[in-house]
Symmetry: C2
Subunit: 288 residues, 2 copies
């Protein structure tokens, strides 16, 4: 989601209309996200199912440019089941049952069974399993983190990677624009710089330090842990951003879709969170 | 692992030498398996690491025939970590931490990070993730099942899919040889028949009914559950067998390797268990 790659692309310029669009739709998007997250599971599940649907269509369209067939019915069905298996009540009622793991095991078996019925070949299975791990498997962590450690504190836990990811993007954009000299990954995302990347790390670090200063006591981590975590989450966010660029580059596509005017596709918006939210969840369950 | 495909292949004949080899090495193999399973974790982990090593080499060799590069250091490292994360003590000491799931999440992030450093392309990531899910992820369930519900009863739990898988193979072979008329999957495994497949199902069903009659009370399932489970495990075993054939066929290979004389490669021996053992584990944790 870091910005240089989008704002400085073909014409190497930002048109005023696009920037205005970005603010308006970005603002609406943010409001909608806060509403959904605050309301809890009753709005989160349908929203994630909708996101899954749009993201699966985008990913399928992207891979089709390289003649790779994603099986949308398979991905949507297994994806919705994975989202349902991520519902926290299931885990608190039956803590000994690894629901999501069972779901994944069955997804692997079923993917190969579909291939045996001649509808996919082994290569298609590989790409469909990767797409499954990349989108629905990761989206499930949005639910799990929202309810870790519980439904009240979860909204604060979830705010951690949201803020870290957002400030990584903003910091990378402005630092990269002002001081960027050395290319980070020229073949994948030509406008990103090492300076921007470090700027993103530091901005995420500072934002989290300030944010958690206001809510200390509420937050389940100590100061030192939080410092390390903020850097790790920022790295994951940047890795997520680059990964999505790499997938698009592999398939010869620029934007993942046209979900929000001025913001590219939904995958362009989610790319950093797809890695930073699961990592936050892992850190949370291991260190608390 | 069902036999017609191997014994009646090119020459459509079984040489006496091969059959003798099969019995001798099969016998030694069975003894070794019982010893390892009885001894527990101290022998199971190194055995599985060795199996992982051989299987990764075989799979890598198979895919290389189609110019697909599996990254062996990545698969072995992530595989060994997955096996260690499947150690039951870890799960009983920290029941709230989904160790294997965290391992998988990091494997996905690291696979993409390796790709970003230009050592893999996105297609390689897809095949490496599939290989990861197919071998080490599934091998981990051998450990988990051996210790479900505990270290004593686990050896009986584990005997269930071993017996079901073995009797599926034997039943499918003899029934297929005697009554086989209708091809099951001619393009993947031309010697398998629908009659053989049904014979495998019924043999697995009967063996488990007889076996569990002797050990009833010890076993954690009721009679009715067990009947359904024996059929499901037999289906998973046959699906595993066909899947391995499909992968070899996709890459234009006949045997996965030369691990045991007369038995093909280690993947040819493991193929059915790779699906039947995880399924048994899932049934066990859900229904007990």
């Amino acid at each position: 989601m870091s910005e240089p790659s989008k704002n400085t692309s073909p014409a190497n310029d930002v048109s005023a209309g696009t920037l205005k669009d970005r603010f308006i739709y970005g603002g609406i998007g943010l409001l909608a996200i806060f509403l959904v997250l605050w309301a809890g599971i009753a709005l989160i599940i349908p929203s994630l199912v909708y996101i899954l649907w749009v993201a699966t269509n985008e990913l399928s369209e992207i891979f089709s440019r390289r003649n790779i067939n994603l099986n949308k019915p398979f991905l949507l069905t297994s994806g919705i089941i994975t989202l349902l298996l991520s519902i926290p009540d299931l885990h608190s009622l039956h803590p000994a049952i690894p629901w999501r793991e069972i779901g994944l095991g069955l997804v692997v078996l079923i993917a190969f069974a579909i291939a045996l019925s001649d509808q996919l070949d082994v290569g298609d299975v590989a790409f469909n399993l990767m797409a499954f791990l990349y989108v629905p498997w990761m989206l499930g962590y949005f639910i799990l983190l929202r309810y870790s450690p519980d439904g009240h504190l979860g909204i604060i836990t979830l705010s951690l990677p949201l803020l870290a990811t957002f400030s990584t993007d903003v910091g990378a954009y402005f630092v990269g624009k002002s001081f960027g000299r050395h290319k980070l990954a020229p073949s994948i995302s030509p406008n990103k710089t090492i300076e921007g990347s470090i700027g993103g790390l530091l901005t995420a670090f500072l934002s989290l330090m300030i944010y958690t200063w206001f809510i200390q006591g509420v937050f389940p981590f100590g100061r030192w842990e939080l410092m390390v975590f903020s850097l790790l989450i920022s790295v994951a966010a940047q890795l997520g951003d680059l990964t999505e660029s790499m997938i698009k580059r592999y398939c010869g596509v620029k934007d993942s879709g046209t979900f929000l005017p001025g913001h590219g596709g939904i995958l362009d918006r989610l790319d950093s969170l797809i890695f930073s939210i699961p990592l936050t969840y892992y850190l949370l369950v291991i260190f608390t």
